[in-house]
């Protein structure tokens, strides 16, 4: 049985390959299988030496039980700086240090709701696991994926099974695939078409750049749509002990700094001080 308890694990890289030019898929073998809630993440490191010093947070993309009680875990990442560049240089067989599963994932618990999953850029790495979970539950969902251009959309083969083709909406800012424009525009447009009762049944689950989430959150609030946003933040520890990763939340009329790694990364969009 995959266990969801938080732990450190010494993994070993099974696969670490570039896909579609910009995304890497990193798969590691683990001593035992890991259960997780979509939106939860791991702190990942593996390069030698003290520079960079800190592990990097990556959303858990998939996990599976392996033979002999072992497990595997997968991540999808984009190279944006030194840490991800170092990760991309690791070869199969190399060790990978992990702390996982971390944080609070998406709440997929409510019955009878309609879900729109919205991923911008590499944000699909938390959105796809949510889609896979919803598909398993036979819940009603549609998925919106946005990127600057066609080549920066996630490779087709990663789309979770159970996503009906008509329910997957691709958006590119340069119009090279799907909807011509930003994913926020597509979602806002679609929200405009909803009746009030449809809107009240809708939950948006989203992950992407801050500006995208902010715009979505405002649009959703306008239409009274529920929204959960998976936020990013610079993290030192990832498990709630450094207080480095905070974001401002509105709680009882006051703002308070809450830890993205512990109280998040998924927050109720209405509470975030955007």
């Amino acid at each position: 049985m995959p266990s969801s308890r938080m732990r450190t694990a010494e993994g070993r890289i099974v696969c670490n390959e570039g896909h579609g030019g910009i995304f890497y898929r990193l798969e590691a073998a683990l001593p035992d299988p890991v259960g997780f809630v979509p939106g939860q993440f791991a702190m990942v490191s593996g390069w030698p030496g003290n520079d960079p010093l800190l592990p990097r947070p990556l959303a858990i993309f998939r996990s599976a039980a392996g033979p002999k009680g072992k497990g595997t875990v997968e991540f999808v990442y984009k190279v944006v700086g030194r840490g991800t560049a170092l990760l991309s240089g690791l070869h199969p067989g190399a060790p990978l240090s992990l702390t996982l599963p971390l944080g609070r994932g998406f709440d997929l618990g409510k019955e009878g709701r309609l879900y729109w999953l919205v991923g911008g850029g590499v944000g699909f790495s938390s959105v796809f696991p949510a889609a896979a979970a919803l598909a398993r539950k036979r819940a009603d969902f549609e998925m919106f994926l946005g990127s600057r251009t066609r080549d920066q959309l996630p490779p087709k083969e990663w789309t979770p099974g159970g996503t009906a083709p008509g329910r997957l909406h691709l958006c590119t800012e340069d119009g090279t695939a799907g909807f011509f424009g930003r994913v926020t525009d597509a979602v806002t447009e679609r929200m405009g078409l909803l009746s009030a009762s449809e809107a009240s049944r809708l939950t948006i689950l989203s992950c992407g750049p801050w500006e995208m989430l902010k715009e979505l959150a405002l649009g959703a609030a306008n239409r009274g749509v529920e929204m959960q946003a998976a936020l990013e933040s610079h993290m030192a520890c990832g498990f709630g002990v450094c207080w480095g990763c905070v974001v401002a939340l509105r709680e009882d009329e006051k703002t308070a700094y809450r830890r993205v790694c512990k109280e998040g990364p998924v927050f109720d969009a209405r509470e975030v001080v955007w």
């Binding site: 010093l53 709630g240 207080w243």
Partner: protein
């Protein structure tokens, strides 16, 4: 034979010399999923203030070469909630723990110390004398022997608990500052706190921390910390707790070798939540290998 890992800090006896450093270990309970927290020499919890504190806006941490800057601004739940909610659970877990305290004025320090004195399970009070946000025209208490002496004396009189004074490395002569703490009645000195540093983004032209400057910690500062611990050990008779960039048993042993009675592990907890226990086990293995009966046979044995 199992080597004796226990150490004494004045009247206090600890299972072993490995503690967690304040601000890097939460309130201790967060580590229970990783190991039995009662195994540590002591847990030093996140700096506590009189009232709960918000801390600084984000832009709180920046990674630097083999180190990190933090400007958390001492976000914490306040001393009352610590006493009510946290301390009993630490005691239940069998943990030895000390409270790191912080105030905006000397009076606040005194008051926090006073309230904590009633906690029977509390092993010691560590006074963060290295915080720049205090009275006296913005000059940190910790940067002058006079400031440290005054603060130490006042807290000393406010509590019966052992008082450890945590010193800033941002000084010309750490020995004098340590002596000032000793003279004013400290039971031990802990050093070092973070070095003041800064990071900016050359493109956006903005500081990377909302607070502009922050505290540098991690392996980058180990050489400076080790030198200061060595100097302090030569100047005071009270125990010195060595802190700064400790990541491995070898690092911890270096601090013991120059004279520290115990060590605290900070930033390394972020990289590897299990590191304190690994260090503990590493020290034990080393003592065995070298056929030493205990820490006492090794501590301060630097050959010059």
């Amino acid at each position: 034979m199992k080597p004796d890992l226990s150490v004494t800090l004045g009247s206090l006896r600890l299972r072993n010399p490995v503690m967690s450093a304040s601000g890097t270990f939460g309130y201790g309970l967060e580590f229970a999923p990783f190991y039995d927290i009662s195994r540590l020499g002591a847990i030093v919890v996140k700096g506590l203030s009189l009232a709960p504190t918000h801390g600084n806006p984000p832009g709180r941490i920046v990674e630097t070469a083999s180190g990190m800057l933090n400007a958390i601004g001492l976000q914490n739940i306040g001393v009352e909630r610590f006493i009510e909610d946290v301390a009993p659970r630490l005691a239940d877990a069998g943990a030895t723990f000390a409270a790191n305290i912080y105030g905006r004025t000397v009076e606040e320090y005194e008051e926090v110390a006073r309230r904590l004195s009633g906690l029977p399970s509390l092993a010691a009070i560590e006074v963060n004398a290295s915080c720049p946000n205090v009275k006296e025209g913005g000059i940190a208490f910790g940067s002058s022997p006079e400031g440290v002496s005054r603060l130490t004396g006042r807290v000393r009189n406010a509590t019966d608990k052992p008082v450890w004074v945590k010193l800033s490395p941002n000084v010309s002569d750490i020995g004098s500052v340590a002596q000032a703490a000793e003279g004013a009645g400290a039971d031990a000195v802990s050093l070092v706190n973070t070095l003041v540093g800064m990071a900016v983004d050359h493109r956006t032209r903005r500081p990377k921390l909302s607070n502009v400057t922050g505290g540098l910690s991690g392996p980058a500062i180990k050489p400076v910390a080790l030198r200061m611990v060595w100097e302090a050990c030569k100047r005071v008779k009270i125990p010195v707790i060595g802190i700064g960039g400790i990541q491995t048993a070898a690092d911890a042993l270096e601090f013991l070798l120059v004279g520290a009675s115990a060590v605290q592990v900070g930033t390394a907890n972020f990289r590897n939540p299990g590191v304190c226990v690994e260090i503990l086990e590493g020290i034990e293995a080393f003592l065995r290998e070298e056929r030493l009966s205990g820490i006492g046979e090794y501590r301060g044995k630097l050959a010059l």
